[in-house]
């Protein structure tokens, strides 16, 4: 009994409820005519697609900047890289690499500015991050119309300028990363090995980074700024570094997402993209002040699992699509829970 209680306390009620909910969905699935192998495969693909963007939450949480609601800023850098790579017309893996090569410097610059901004508004980072994300997306809406992209695959046909709302990457680098060593079992079960390898690579990098001098200093800034100051750590610089890292991961994340999804979504597309990533890391057990790579992996699987399973299972059960409503309630409820959780000091 004690061990059960300990486990519940360790994992937290919301995570257990969501885990059980997901488990029950998988159990019900075969009885309502939903193929489990398709569902698992879909969950795996979605996990790979979103993993990097969820990972992007970690550096800022660790350095005490809170949840990165400003993720759209990184996404914008990634989108710029992606459209540039298509404009040049590079195909396959080099295409993805070009996209990243363009996106990362942009993300560094944007992240640096964003970091400087957040250093001036300590204590209300999250609210401001949300609005920085929103306004940068709105600003880019103007830019997508104005920027001089000319590739006929991307611009509006009749005007000859202004990027389309969705751009297909088919024929350029569709599934370029996913297909590295990917395999298919049976008719429906597809495993995007490349995407997992790439995600694992970034996670390992993150794990090592947290154990370097800079990483440790960053964690100190997050957990105890006064102590960090006393030990001679430059707080503002650490915070800026974490924001840059977060933004760069966001940029890479969206490129991974697009190459698997097959489309680049511009204009209002990235508007709400921060929220699923934020709630995924929270479902994984992170809080506003603490996040680990395990949180990222567990959270992404749980969250994406629910997103995959609810439409198919609930649809077959009650003949109505409630998935959108469930998604809104689960993801925002999770964020709400994290924001209102009173920190308990363990004795």
């Amino acid at each position: 009994m004690n061990r059960v209680r300990e486990f519940i306390e360790h994992a937290g009620w919301p995570r257990i409820i969501i885990g059980l909910f997901l488990l029950s969905l998988f159990i019900i699935a075969p009885f309502v005519g939903v193929r489990v192998d398709v569902s698992i495969s879909d969950t795996l693909v979605r996990f790979g697609m979103n993993g990097v963007m969820v990972l992007a939450m970690v550096p800022m949480v660790i350095s005490g900047c809170g949840l990165n609601f400003g993720l759209p800023l990184g996404i914008i850098a990634g989108l710029l890289g992606a459209v540039t790579s298509i404009e040049i017309g590079v195909k396959g893996i080099p295409g993805v690499l070009t996209a990243m090569a363009v996106a990362i410097p942009i993300a560094v610059v944007l992240g640096w500015g964003y970091g400087l901004l957040l250093n001036r508004v300590k204590g209300s980072e999250m609210m401001i991050a949300t609005y920085v994300g929103f306004s940068s997306v709105a600003f880019m809406c103007i830019m997508w119309l104005v920027l001089p992209f000319r590739s006929p695959n991307m611009v509006w046909g009749y005007a000859g300028k202004g990027l389309r709302t969705t751009i297909a990457v088919e024929g350029y680098w569709h599934q370029a990363i996913s297909d590295i060593g990917s395999f298919q079992i049976g008719e429906f079960f597809y495993v995007p090995t490349g995407m997992f390898l790439f995600f694992a690579l970034l996670c390992t990098f993150m794990w090592f980074f947290m154990r370097t001098r800079t990483g440790t200093a960053m964690a100190t800034v997050g957990s105890n700024p006064e102590y960090a100051r006393a030990s001679g750590v430059n707080i503002d610089r650490m915070r800026t570094t974490s924001v840059i890292l977060s933004t760069v991961l966001g940029a890479i994340g969206i490129i991974v997402y697009e190459q698997s999804f097959g489309f680049i979504q511009l204009y209002m597309g990235p508007f709400y993209m921060a929220f699923p990533a934020v709630s995924a890391v929270l479902i994984g057990g992170a809080s506003v002040h603490k996040a680990t790579i395990v949180n990222v992996i567990v959270g992404t699987i749980l969250f994406q699992g629910i997103l995959t399973m609810t439409p198919s299972v609930i649809n077959s059960m009650i003949q109505t699509d409630m998935s959108e409503v469930i998604r809104i309630i689960v993801s925002n409820g999770m964020i709400l829970y994290a924001l209102t959780r009173v920190l308990k000091v363990k004795l």
Binding site: L117, S124, A138, T340
Partner: protein, 366 residues
């Protein structure tokens, strides 16, 4: 000389946002080629339509809880009231009053819940109320899209989706359309003035002025200044904050009813979302900050913000030849202005904190 310059600079910084808006509008109005009468009419309509919603934000600011993004909860309550009266086909001012009566208990309940949650998230009320708005949007959809017509009886088949339950995307409020605006019709030089609506708004302004002077209003101000000091002085901090949010939510609910009676149709699943963002942007454009807002800010803000909303698409069209660009521009402006105001406020607060710390160290503060 230097002092005068300093004072001028201070004034400029304090009112940076309205000044920028005035300048941009002054530039954009001639380009948009709108006539003066049209703009005056449009501004009057929008003042009557939006002021009440914006006014509902004032009381939480007084209590130091920042911008109440949770006002969308009130808007949702108002919309549920409107769905009921449309279903029962009760028209005119009676219908509006009934909608208000139905939605008041709901708004109180939602406000109470919002207040409880915000009391658990002191110091980050804004982001919490913002997410709470999203969360309740999901619950609202669950109730209206699945509950209405199946659990809650709806008699009018025109309002229900073809599958038998759930309210349609657009609810027609023809029955109460402009009923308050046209209650006391006055027209000056071809410009219609919705006198009755303005009377309601004026009455409410008086309420705010009176409320600030009451014991409760003073308590709120004290809580807004410093929670710990207020608690030591014997003010029940949690309760005061709770009441301020409840009042705000109930008023936002009435504000949404007034707003929708003017529009005449309701986007069942979107109207409330826009209500929050536009109200907050308007208030900030009027020169209010997260911790300080007056009635004057409300009216100035509504006029300036909506002037921009009306003018910018046309200005964009004539200037660059693309109305779409103006449309995006106005989205950018509404979000940009909120970010700017939030950043300026947080920045100022941090500077004050730094200054306080410096003075503790014994170095003379600048």
């Amino acid at each position: 000389m230097n002092r005068k310059y300093d004072y001028f600079k201070h004034l400029l910084v304090q009112n940076a946002v309205p000044i920028v808006f005035l300048a941009v509008s002054a530039f954009a109005i001639p380009i948009s080629q709108f006539s003066g009468t049209y703009l005056v009419q449009e501004m009057l309509v929008r003042l009557s339509r939006n002021s009440f919603l914006v006014l509902s934000l004032l009381i939480p600011i007084l209590a130091g809880m920042g911008l109440n993004f949770g006002m969308v909860l009130g808007a949702m309550a108002g919309q549920i009231g409107l769905i009921f009266i449309t279903d029962w086909n009760i028209v005119g001012v009676h219908g509006m009053l009934l909608a208000a009566i139905i939605s008041t208990p709901l708004a109180i309940l939602l406000g109470w819940m919002c207040g409880l949650i915000l009391n658990r998230a002191k110091g980050r009320e804004m982001v919490t109320s913002f997410i709470l708005g999203f969360f309740m949007n999901g619950v609202y959809q669950l109730v209206v899209l699945y509950g209405f017509g199946s659990v809650v009886p709806v008699t009018n088949p025109k309002m229900v989706l073809s599958r038998g339950f759930g309210i349609r995307n657009v609810t027609n409020l023809e029955g109460i359309r402009k009923c308050l605006d046209n209650l006391l019709p006055v027209s000056v030089a071809g410009v219609d003035i919705p006198v009755a609506t303005f009377l309601v708004i004026a009455f409410f302004c008086l309420f705010v002025v009176w409320f600030r002077k009451t014991k409760l209003g003073q308590d709120m101000r004290a809580v807004g200044q410093d929670m710990d000091v207020a608690r030591d002085a014997g003010i029940p901090v949690e309760r005061t904050r709770l009441i301020s949010i409840i009042i705000s939510t109930v008023l936002a609910c009435y504000g949404q009813i007034i707003f929708l009676q003017n529009i005449g149709t309701m986007n069942t699943y979107n109207s409330h979302e826009q209500a929050g963002m536009f109200a907050i942007a308007s208030l900030l454009v009027g020169g209010a900050s997260v911790s300080r807002a007056s009635i004057f800010n409300v009216f100035l803000g509504v006029v300036l913000f909506h002037l921009m909303l009306v003018v910018s698409p046309m200005a964009g069209k004539y200037l660059i030849g693309e109305a779409q660009l103006g449309e995006y521009f106005r989205v950018f402006v509404s979000y940009g202005i909120i970010s700017l105001a939030l950043v300026l406020h947080a920045w100022r607060r941090q500077k004050e904190k730094d200054r306080a710390r410096r003075s503790l160290r014994g170095i003379q503060a600048e």
